[in-house]
Each structure stands twice: as structure tokens, then as C-alpha cells.
């Protein structure tokens, strides 16, 4: 029949096809990724031990950069702001859930509403930053116009060190909330209607239904929202760069912005020092990466 084959003279590739194929498919991706992502992480560790202006040869200074970091007030401001970012950015999760619940109805045109609510996530943070800069503008900004109606006086959100970080985070929460909202909307779609009916028979209503039955079922969505929000908080750069450029007097810096400033801005070009900041940032993120990979590992094993 048609399928007889003489396996004696099969090529070496043919015989090892199943073992070899995945690697052939992986090679381009792995190479690119190693070259541009994995190796640079390690390079950064190395560079953080150098005093190097980005030109020519750096000189090794051991842990000097870290020692300096230890005494650098700007570093602590950045670190503090990063923690504020982390904490407050997470508000996007309940906010997103709230909006998702609000929109999770079937009335005519709701799809359009959902899409429009999602807008902020799609536009560039550069534009979001600009928009909010004007929103906060102490002379004509909408915010101050608004609170002016109630007789409160202009708040210089982006120019005041006490408010600036919160102001930027609020701007960041806008798109991030939209993101969490869409995650929850899809999560809500996957909620088992029978469980809700069971809960209705059990007499759960309103907030208690939400708290005891809905939210536990949204756990996967919450997990993802948590991960993307943490990553977003730690990567925050665009908004700060656009809205305040780190100011006033460096009070709105976060680590990622500070390292950019140190390493690549007009006054900087201290690559080693920048890399040291990056390493600290990386170590913070590593906690979350480990947590995430661990959860994924458990899940993979579970299958």
C-alpha cells in the first residue's frame, strides 16, 4: 500500500525530526531574545561596577556606584516615589472592577460605551501626559476651574512637591483603570451563571453577592490585573518625562526616570551609576517575577 517506506536510508534529520524541529523553530527567537534582553540584563550588572561615560573604556570601581547610591538623597526620593506608585497604582484594580461592574449590563449601545471607556488605554502615555498636564494647569486647568467653583484655590499639582507624584499617578491610573476594566469585563463574562443563581437561591444579594461569590470567581482576572499593574508601576517613565521631567526639583522622580536622567540626559552620562539604579529596580521587580513564575509553574504542573 501507499505507506510502505524503507527506513534504512532515512536521513539523520528524518530520524531525529521530532527532537530537532523545536530547536530549529526556537533558534531565531531565542537568539534575538538572548542578544537583546537576557545578555543586556547581565551586562547591566557588569556596567554597574564601572565608572563609564558611555564613550571609550570604563574603569572598574567595584561597588562604588552602589555606595554612592546609598548616600544619594535623590535615590531615596525615587525609591519612595516608586513605592507610592506601586501602592497607589494598585487602585486601578478596584477602580477597574467598579467600572466593569457598572458597564456589565445589556442595554442598547453598551458595546460602544465599553469601547469608549477603554479609550485611555489605547492612546499613548505621551498624549495622556500632555492632556493631564493641561488638566492640572494652575491657571486654566480644568481641575482648578472645577475646584474654583467651590471656592478652592488653585492647586499647582505638578509644581508642588507634595502633590506632584500623586498627580502623575492619577494620570497613570486613568489608562490603567481602563486596562483593568477590560480584564474584569472579560472576567465577568466567564463568571458561571449557575453559581450566581445558586447564590441567589442562597439569598446573597448586592455587596455580599459581589464579595462572596463574584470576586472570588474573578481571581484570574485579578491576578493578571495585579501583574500588569505592578509592571506598569515599576516601568513608569513616559508620564513623568512628559509631565514634569522629574521636577519640581526632582521630587517626582522614580527609579526608572532617575536612571535615564543619570545615564542619558544632558547632565548625566554616568552609565555605571545608571546601571546600578537599574539593577536595584530589577531586584525589586525580581520579587514579582519570581512570584509570577512560581504561580505559572504551579499551574503548569497542575495540568
Amino acid at each position: 500500500m501507499s505507506m510502505q517506506a524503507d527506513h534504512s536510508n532515512r536521513s539523520w534529520y528524518k530520524r531525529n525530526e521530532i527532537a530537532l524541529t523545536p530547536w530549529l523553530f526556537l533558534i531565531p527567537g531565542i537568539l534575538m531574545f538572548l542578544f537583546y534582553v537576557i545578555l543586556p540584563v547581565f551586562q547591566s550588572f557588569y556596567i554597574s561596577t564601572l565608572d563609564w561615560d558611555g564613550l571609550g573604556q570604563g574603569t572598574s570601581v567595584g561597588l562604588e556606584n552602589y555606595r554612592e547610591l546609598w548616600h544619594d538623597p535623590a535615590f531615596y526620593i525615587s525609591l519612595r516615589n516608586n513605592l507610592i506608585w506601586l501602592a497607589l497604582y494598585l487602585l486601578a484594580i478596584p477602580a477597574g472592577l467598579f467600572i466593569a461592574l457598572f458597564l456589565n449590563q445589556t442595554v442598547t449601545g453598551i458595546r460602544l460605551y465599553k469601547s469608549l471607556f477603554f479609550f485611555p488605554f489605547v492612546i499613548s502615555q505621551v498624549v495622556v501626559g500632555l492632556v493631564f498636564t493641561w488638566f492640572y494647569d494652575p491657571t486654566f486647568g480644568l481641575l482648578n476651574t472645577f475646584i474654583g467653583w467651590f471656592g478652592f484655590g488653585p492647586i499647582n499639582v505638578l509644581g508642588d512637591p507634595t502633590y506632584v507624584t500623586y498627580g502623575i499617578i492619577a494620570a497613570g491610573l486613568w489608562p490603567q483603570t481602563a486596562y483593568c476594566m477590560i480584564l474584569y469585563l472579560t472576567g465577568l463574562n466567564a463568571v458561571d451563571p449557575e453559581q450566581i443563581e445558586a447564590a441567589r437561591l442562597d439569598g446573597a444579594k448586592g455587596w455580599r453577592m459581589l464579595w462572596y461569590v463574584i470576586i472570588p470567581q474573578l481571581k484570574p482576572a485579578t491576578f493578571i490585573a495585579f501583574v500588569v499593574t505592578v509592571i506598569g508601576a515599576l516601568r513608569s517613565f513616559d508620564l513623568i518625562s512628559i509631565m514634569t521631567n522629574g521636577g519640581p526639583f526632582g521630587e517626582s522622580r522614580v527609579l526608572s526616570f532617575y536612571m535615564f536622567e543619570v545615564a542619558l540626559s544632558e547632565y548625566g552620562f554616568r552609565m555605571g551609576y545608571g546601571a546600578a539604579i537599574a539593577v536595584v529596580l530589577f531586584l525589586i521587580m525580581l520579587c514579582f517575577i519570581t512570584y509570577f513564575l512560581y504561580s505559572m509553574y504551579k499551574e503548569e504542573r497542575g495540568h
Binding site: E197, D202, V213, Q217
Partner: protein
């Protein structure tokens, strides 16, 4: 007194009417099973009783209370779902106690009732497990436990066993029967499994397209169906239907040419009717020559013999014991004249004689 009474109950989804004015009385303590083909409205009807669907028109009473517009949680009903609908993030104990907790019962009462239900269902060992760590049968047991704990007047089951494998299904079926005897509450049960319906029910309600076709005890429906639909639906393998020519005092069977000494009402004289013959009442006569054996499927104790008459009509006969028919054999059949039923070919109504 907590029977359930439906009075011209109607359900519309938008303009589509799916339940067409159902009148039904279910007595206190009765085990009532809804059967019918897929999409006939069994679940909808059950959910209307539970209050999970609004009733468009008509009334629903539980005991003497008109519950038509009441909240599900106030109707005194508990429901067991096909997919169990357990809360995956709660332990078995929490699942069972959730309803009481939501209704503000004190902890000690909850503990006690959960303990009792888990004793009845032999779930004590699993109380602190999450549903994911239970087998299908155990999960279904928990979901029944959740219903019991709330001490409802009426239990509602929507195909509770259809997600279980054959063996477990049998086991759970027996369990539910035992439960009914033990608790004595009114139970309404939706299924499309013949065996469940026949074995569990005090009363079977056969639905078709939102209308009740017949209500009655299982054997009543089996022996005395009102129409071809019910006759074909109850009993497995299904009743065979062949055509017969009505003559003055007898009916001539198309497939065999034999005549049956039955006097049908005169309007049928000269017309063609449908003859119903249950496979279990047919005996194969190896000496005959009216049918050829298409396939004979032997299951050990019983075989199903697929027969084809020369006029193309098909029959299935159940054969017991060691006599075997082989494919291609020519055989005849015999049956007791009294086991035959007649149906109007157009209206499918039973022609009683």
C-alpha cells in the same frame, strides 16, 4: 403543606413564547420528574418555580403562598444544578453553610445543620476540602447537601446526574431515591434519562414544546400513553411503529400481512393507522419468513435484533436467553395481541379500544 401548583403559567422571551400555559399540581412530598426532548422547556419551567426566571403570566403557588413574584431566596426552594454550581473558593462546609450564613443564622445553627446534612450524605470526611479536590459524585453530593441544609419545602433538580459517568449515575440515583424517602420533601426533577425518570418518579410530566403531553405515574405512562409521542418517549429501546390498514373488525399489518382481531372505532375504517409494538413484547420465530435480520447485537443476557420487513419497515426485537439470530437470517415474529397499541397517524393520538 408545600405542594407546588402552577396555574396557566406562561413564559415568553421577548416575543417568543416557550411555555404555553402550564397547569400542574404537585402534591406535598411527591417526587415529580419533568421529561421531554431537548429544548422543550423543562429547565425553564423549573427555573420559573425557583424564581430564577420571571413568570410572564399565570401563577405559581408553593404551599398556599403565591410566590409568582417572590425572590428566589424567599420561596423556600433549593436547587441542585447540573454543573453542581459549587463555589470553588469555599470548602465543602462553607459551601453548605453559605445560604444560612447569608440569611443571618447563628454559627451554632449552621454547624449543626451542616453536620446533619453531611451525615446523611456521608460527606463528613470531606468537609474541609475544596470542590476541586472532590470527585464528580462527591461534588454532586455536596450540592445536594447545600440544598438540604437550607431545609427547603421543595427541592429542584436540573439534570443533576448528567455530568457523571454511568456507574456513578446509578449510585447517585439510588442515593437520591433514598434521600427522598428519608426527607419526604417535595422534589421536582428534570432529566432526559429514561431510567432516572422511570425509577425515581412518583409522577412524570412529559413536556413537548412548552406544553404538557401527559402526566402520570411511570408505569401508567408506559402502559397507557395518551399519544405516540409519549409512547415513543417512555420505554427503552423505544416502541416500534409500523403501519396498519384498518378493516371492519381487524387491522392488517403492512409489514407481515397478518391481521389483528381488533375492532377500531368506525371513523378509522379503511384508513391507515400507526401500530405501536414494544421490542420487549416481540418474540422471534426462527421458523418464520417475514423479516430479515439486519444486525443482531448481543449484550450478554439480552440481544437486540434489528429486523427489516420486505416492505422496508423496520423493527427492533428484544431477545433473551441463548437463542441467537444471525445476520441475514429470515425470521418471523409473534406477540401478544393485547400488547399492541394504535395511534392516529395524523394527530398521533392514541386510539383506545
Amino acid at each position: 403543606m408545600s405542594g407546588v401548583t402552577l396555574n396557566k403559567a406562561i413564559k415568553k422571551y421577548g416575543d417568543v413564547q416557550v411555555i404555553h400555559g402550564i397547569d400542574l399540581e404537585i402534591d406535598h412530598g411527591e417526587f415529580c420528574v419533568f421529561v421531554g426532548p431537548s429544548g422543550c422547556g423543562k429547565s425553564t419551567l423549573l427555573r420559573m418555580i425557583a424564581g430564577l426566571e420571571d413568570t410572564t403570566d399565570g401563577q405559581i403557588h408553593i404551599g398556599d403562598r403565591d410566590v409568582t413574584t417572590m425572590d428566589p431566596s424567599q420561596r423556600g426552594v433549593a436547587m441542585v444544578f447540573q454543573t453542581y454550581a459549587l463555589y470553588p473558593h469555599m470548602t465543602v462546609k462553607q459551601n453548605m453553610g453559605f445560604g444560612l450564613k447569608m440569611n443571618g443564622h447563628p454559627k451554632s445553627v449552621i454547624e449543626e445543620k451542616v453536620a446533619e446534612a453531611s451525615r446523611i450524605l456521608k460527606l463528613d470526611e470531606y468537609l474541609s476540602r475544596k470542590p476541586a479536590a472532590l470527585s464528580g459524585g462527591q461534588r454532586q453530593r455536596v450540592s445536594i447537601g447545600r440544598a438540604i441544609v437550607r431545609g427547603p419545602e421543595v427541592f429542584l433538580f436540573d439534570e443533576p446526574l448528567s455530568n457523571l459517568d454511568a456507574e456513578l449515575r446509578v449510585e447517585m440515583r439510588v442515593e437520591i431515591a433514598r434521600l427522598h424517602r428519608e426527607i419526604g420533601a417535595t422534589m421536582i426533577y428534570v432529566t432526559h434519562d429514561q431510567v432516572e425518570a422511570m425509577t425515581l418518579a412518583d409522577k412524570i410530566v412529559v413536556l413537548r414544546a412548552g406544553v404538557i403531553e401527559q402526566v402520570g405515574a411511570p408505569m401508567e405512562l408506559y402502559r397507557d400513553p395518551d399519544n405516540k409521542f409519549v409512547a415513543g418517549f417512555i420505554g427503552s429501546p423505544a416502541m416500534n411503529f409500523i403501519s396498519g390498514q384498518v378493516q371492519k373488525t381487524n387491522v392488517k399489518i403492512g409489514a407481515t400481512g397478518d391481521t389483528l382481531k381488533h375492532k377500531l372505532p368506525s371513523p378509522y375504517h379503511g384508513r391507515v393507522v400507526t401500530i405501536g409494538l414494544r421490542p420487549e413484547f416481540i418474540t422471534i420465530d426462527p421458523t418464520g419468513d417475514t423479516f430479515s435480520v439486519e444486525i443482531s447485537e448481543s449484550l450478554g443476557g439480552v440481544s437486540y435484533v434489528h429486523l427489516r420487513a420486505d416492505n422496508g419497515e423496520k423493527l427492533i426485537a428484544e431477545q433473551r436467553g441463548d437463542i441467537r439470530s444471525n445476520e441475514g437470517d429470515r425470521v418471523g415474529i409473534s406477540f401478544d395481541r393485547d400488547t399492541v397499541m394504535y395511534f392516529d397517524t395524523d394527530s398521533e393520538k392514541r386510539i383506545r379500544i
